[in-house]
Amino acid sequence: MLVDQIKEYLESSRSADFESIEIVRGDLIGRVKVDKLVELCRYLKNDRDLEFNFLSMITAVDYLRTRAKRFEVVYSLFSIIHHHRITLKLAVNETEQVPSLTPLWDSANCQEREVFDMFGVVFSGHPNLKRILMDDDWVGYPQRKDFPLTYETPEFSHNRDKIDLANRTPREGEN
């Protein structure tokens, strides 16, 4: 199916799950309601005409101070059979949890862990939600916009007295 056909198809069959469906630069982009995500993905995966059987990517974007809901979780689903793609977007704030897609795709496991590690978005129902790239004792979420790029000045013998140690955010277990 072509992109506009998929759009019509979804609008007629699953419009209750979407806040909006649009075509931007030839890509199909759907904004999904958080509580409908898993059910919708199961439908997209198993429907005979759509068969979005491959979870390509999960990531998130931090729209700090520009949007009412801070984070946008982005999913890209692909159909290896029909070669079409859909992007799903979820808007969540810091306290909301996102349902995990691990029951549907095993590849969601590591990618959701990465989003949790980098943004602090919590995925409910994830079997092993812990940090993946950063240290286990790391404090903070590096990809957030309020996490500065130069967080900590590396300490050397030549700059030890210049580093503002008093204003440094302490690690866990430090005082």
């Binding site: 630069r25 390509s56 590849s107």
Partner: protein, 389 residues
């Protein structure tokens, strides 16, 4: 199963883990019950760093992810920004991009073959593969001035035109490589030890492979015919003739055969790109995207303004986001770019194929011997720079 389960760490400093990868395994005797890859030792925050660079500067960061396939990483990033801006890339630039990314595929596969074979005990392969790889690195140096971190692609085209004598050098590769590939296959394909070490090892079915998100040769060795160059052609790949090699059993031996067949297919594409190379510009003439040539800047007021704006401010894509994925040597590499209208990307995310492929390690090694773990890490063809970013 005996009562005593031993937990063992392989890596992070071990030559057979291909970088700083640690694998925690539970063993019953020599049989692996569970394997968990522990990553992050090479995390350098490339995605975060890119947010502090202009769109053109950020290209240099992409080389450092999969350092065995720098041109593929450049390509996916520039394609994503080009999609965001709606740039038309000249045909000549597209052909050179195809030619170089296919050479990149050969480069990456050669390193994989050399190290994978060395892991299993065929020590000579490394020397042969690196001999051929050197020729490709010389071409990188010839066109961009750098052997590995080429950063040769630009938004809208290429950094500069290929120098004279480029075709002669590529022809040399086209002439010499097929017989070298025969040599590799003569050493390995029917080799009894090689077959014993690879057939039936790390088997994965097509259904499981799709569910685990595997892509590239790992998926195709299980018999799934999905190559992005064919299914969603980019950069005029639809103008080239090539086959997609498929496997049947999804084991380490089939993955080896797939990749070796891909080496030959890549040479086919390189030959076609060289033969059909069109005339034209190497970069777009849209002055909002590419800087004007120096002669024009010196003579023309308007071009001087473009020059000044380009170098002082940079490129400003419209507000929005775009996702592009291409077929890298390791699988589907994707790039998601978000723009807020400023000259720096608001967010860049890469879908690294190695990261998702290694997460299926547990499925691949379960029930195998500990020595097979090394063969399976080799066959997944991972690059830790890309996994950790």
């Amino acid at each position: 199963m005996s009562a005593k389960v031993m937990t063992l760490n392989v890596g992070p400093q071990h030559p057979a883990t291909h970088g700083v990868l640690r694998v925690q395994i539970d063993l019953d005797g020599e049989t692996i019950l569970r394997a968990e890859p522990i990553i992050g030792y090479l995390h350098t925050g490339i995605e975060k760093n890119m947010e502090a660079k202009t769109y053109t500067q950020a290209i240099t960061m992409t080389d450092r992810m999969d350092y065995l396939a720098p041109m593929s990483n450049n390509l996916v990033y520039v394609l994503a920004v080009e999609k965001l801006m709606g740039v038309e890339v000249p045909l000549k630039a597209q052909y050179i991009r195809v030619l170089l990314t296919e050479l990149t595929r050969i480069n990456s596969h050669l390193v994989w073959l050399g190290t994978h074979a060395t892991d299993i005990g065929a020590m000579t392969m490394l020397l042969y593969c690196f001999r051929e790889r050197e020729k490709i690195l010389q071409i990188y140096e010839f066109v961009s001035g750098v052997r590995m971190m080429s950063s040769y692609f630009r938004i809208g085209g290429l950094a500069m035109d290929v120098p004279g004598g480029f075709d002669k050098r590529v022809k040399e590769i086209l002439d010499t490589f097929p017989s070298r590939f025969d040599e590799y296959e003569g050493l390995l394909t029917e080799n009894k030890i090689w077959k014993n070490r690879t057939i039936g090892i790390g088997k994965i079915s097509a259904v499981e492979a799709i569910k685990s998100g595997l892509s590239g040769p790992l998926l195709r060795a299980s018999g799934v015919n999905w190559d992005i160059r064919k299914s969603n052609p980019y950069s005029s790949y639809d103008k080239f003739e090539f086959d997609v090699p498929l496997g049947q059993n999804g084991d380490t031996y089939d993955r080896y055969k797939c990749r070796v067949a891909e080496l030959r297919q890549s040479l086919r594409i390189v030959g076609q790109a060289l033969e059909g190379m069109p005339e034209g510009n190497y970069i777009t003439t849209d002055r909002k995207i590419a800087p004007p040539p120096k002669e024009e800047v010196l003579k023309n007021m308007e071009q001087l303004i473009h020059h000044f704006k380009y170098w002082s401010e940079g490129i400003k894509p419209p507000v929005g986001d775009a996702y592009v994925s291409i077929e890298s040597p390791k699988g589907e590499i994707g790039c998601y770019v978000v723009s807020d209208g400023s000259p720096k990307p608001y967010r860049v995310h890469f879908r690294p194929p190695s990261f998702i492929n290694i997460s299926a390690l547990d499925k691949l090694v379960k029930g195998h011997m500990i020595s097979d773990l090394i063969a399976i890490i080799g066959t997944t063809d991972i690059v830790l720079g890309e996994i950790d970013r």
